[in-house]
């Protein structure tokens, strides 16, 4: 009985730890993104609230909480209210299977640094992350606004065309690691990360992850200059904030996934594993921000072309080649 309680407490502790760290990172990623984007555009970015603008996330939250929570007339009220939650919650749920450190020894107990080490972790990630698009689609649909609807439709079709390549680009990883469990995949990269072993899969996965996070150059569902605000045009206050935070949680989560699948997870010399993991996630996030500063938004047909005519065949061929090489190596 007490054994069970301790296990439960451990899981709860890990949950709180992840929740806190991920939300903290999401809040400060917003600030980091605004500052880095600003510097890249020869501006300063936010620097008024607190020293170096470090209290900016707090100010943003206070502002969002005190704004009116507006529901447009003739909107589908229930869907409108729950849609932002879907985005944020699905993004957080993915983190359940992400291992962020090696197994620890605490008081003679083996504590794996992952909430649940599912043996089908990859499938879980693919399933839950495609649920995330429901937030966008339902939010767009329920707003009863043409811009929101267009944003939602775009989000859906983008998901359909990129989810395939996303899944297929993970197949070589699974073949190389011989497991669907994310912990095993990290363990398989002890000596050399999969990014170097299979750069094509890494490239395809990275592009698909960019599309999955609805960020530039794939931010078609938002597309400020075409669709006002896309799917979140009609949202205000903390509901808009949830969409916003969801996007940045998603950034953290997808950064961790890139780290787990291709950058060798917590493996690295000299530094403690947890620091390595954090460092790699932040590096991927910095890459996201850099891409946002540098690239224009793709046109809708270019996006479809890239997804169906280049990434999909490329990842299929990559699976074949990887399989042949693995067979040849025995």
């Amino acid at each position: 009985m007490s054994e069970m309680l301790v296990t439960l407490a451990l899981i709860l502790g890990k949950l709180l730890f992840i929740f806190g760290v991920v939300l903290f990172m999401a809040a400060y990623l917003v600030l980091a993104e605004r500052k880095i984007l600003g510097r890249m555009q020869l501006r300063y970015g936010p620097n008024r609230v607190g020293p170096f603008g470090l209290m900016q996330p707090l100010a943003d939250v206070i502002k969002l909480l005190t704004k009116e929570d507006f529901v447009p007339a003739r909107a589908d009220k229930w869907l409108f209210l729950i849609a932002p939650g879907i985005t944020a919650v699905t993004a957080l749920l993915v983190f359940a299977v992400i291992p962020f450190g090696p197994t620890l020894e605490i008081f003679g107990r083996q504590v794996p640094l992952v909430v649940v080490d599912l043996n089908i972790g990859v499938l879980y990630f693919l399933g839950v992350s495609s649920m995330a698009v429901y937030g966008v689609v339902l939010g767009g649909w329920a707003s009863n606004s043409k811009y929101s609807l267009l944003g939602g439709v775009r989000g859906l079709s983008q998901m359909v065309s990129y989810e395939l390549s996303l899944g297929l680009s993970l197949v070589p990883v699974i073949m190389m690691a011989r497991s669907f469990s994310l912990t095993d995949i990290v363990m398989a990269q002890q000596s050399i990360p999969f990014m170097l072993l299979n750069p094509v899969a890494f490239g395809v996965f990275f592009i698909c992850v960019l599309a999955e996070s609805n960020r530039i150059p794939f931010d078609l569902p938002e597309a400020e200059n075409e669709l006002v605000g896309g799917f979140h045009t009609e949202y205000s206050g903390m509901r808009f904030g949830l969409f916003f935070v969801g996007e940045y949680i998603n950034m953290v989560v997808l950064g961790s996934l890139v780290t787990v699948f291709f950058l060798g997870g917590w493996h690295g010399p000299w530094l403690p594993p947890l620091l390595w993991f954090l460092f790699k996630v932040l590096a991927v996030c910095a890459m996201f921000i850099w891409i946002r500063a540098s690239m224009p938004r793709l046109r809708y047909d270019q996006l479809m072309n890239l997804g169906w005519k280049i990434l999909l065949p490329l990842s299929l061929v990559n699976i074949l080649v990887t399989g042949a090489v693995l067979l040849g190596l025995g």
């Binding site: 510097r39 020869l42 501006r43 300063y44 850099w290 540098s294 690239m295």
Partner: protein, 176 residues
């Protein structure tokens, strides 16, 4: 060929943004640093005085007629000695667009622009400037012009004594 251009076009921006990141931002941090304004910047309007210290404004309504947003209003009055002046003169700066057309219309150089742009406030009524708020104690950008000396009609000075004028002919006299 356009494949090479496409690849270059994809990677060049990354170099540009990276380089920009290590440059000094061009932002002027306003309340602490102030912008060097051009000499003829158009902001708050003033009513200037002539070199003798009298009001230049003769309440001719030309500025309020020229004003595209109708933010200038006044009431004309005449003093004992025949000088015209504004009994009251009002500029509503919540409406003013700082186009400077009033200064171009003004025949006496009374209304002029200054570079003081910090007019913002919370109460719109405080932005309605009355004559005493507008009137200043200097000549603005012209230190010599005095309307009544150039083309007055014997108000400030007797007829014919202004610079460039000849005394009026004595119609009772036959001498040339």
């Amino acid at each position: 060929m356009h494949v090479i251009r496409g690849i270059r076009g994809t990677f060049q921006p990354f170099w540009v943004t990276l380089r920009n990141m290590f440059r000094k931002p061009v932002t002027i941090q306003y309340p602490e640093e102030k912008q060097q304004l051009p000499e003829r910047y158009r902001a708050r309007l003033i009513l200037t005085r002539d070199p003798d210290g009298a009001e230049r404004c003769v309440a001719c309504h030309l500025c309020s007629a020229a004003c595209p947003v109708d933010c200038i209003s006044m009431q004309a009055a005449e003093a004992e000695d025949g000088r015209r002046y504004g009994a009251w003169f009002r500029i509503n700066f919540t409406r003013c667009i700082f186009c400077g057309l009033c200064t171009e219309a003004c025949p006496t150089l009374a209304i002029q622009v200054t570079a003081d742009f910090e007019l913002a406030g919370r109460d719109p009524l405080k932005l309605v400037y009355e004559k005493e708020d507008l009137l200043v104690d200097h000549c603005g950008n012209n230190n010599s012009y005095n309307f009544y000396r150039q083309s007055g009609i014997g108000v400030a000075a007797p007829r014919g004594t202004n610079p460039g004028e000849t005394p009026p002919a004595d119609v009772k006299d036959l001498m040339p």
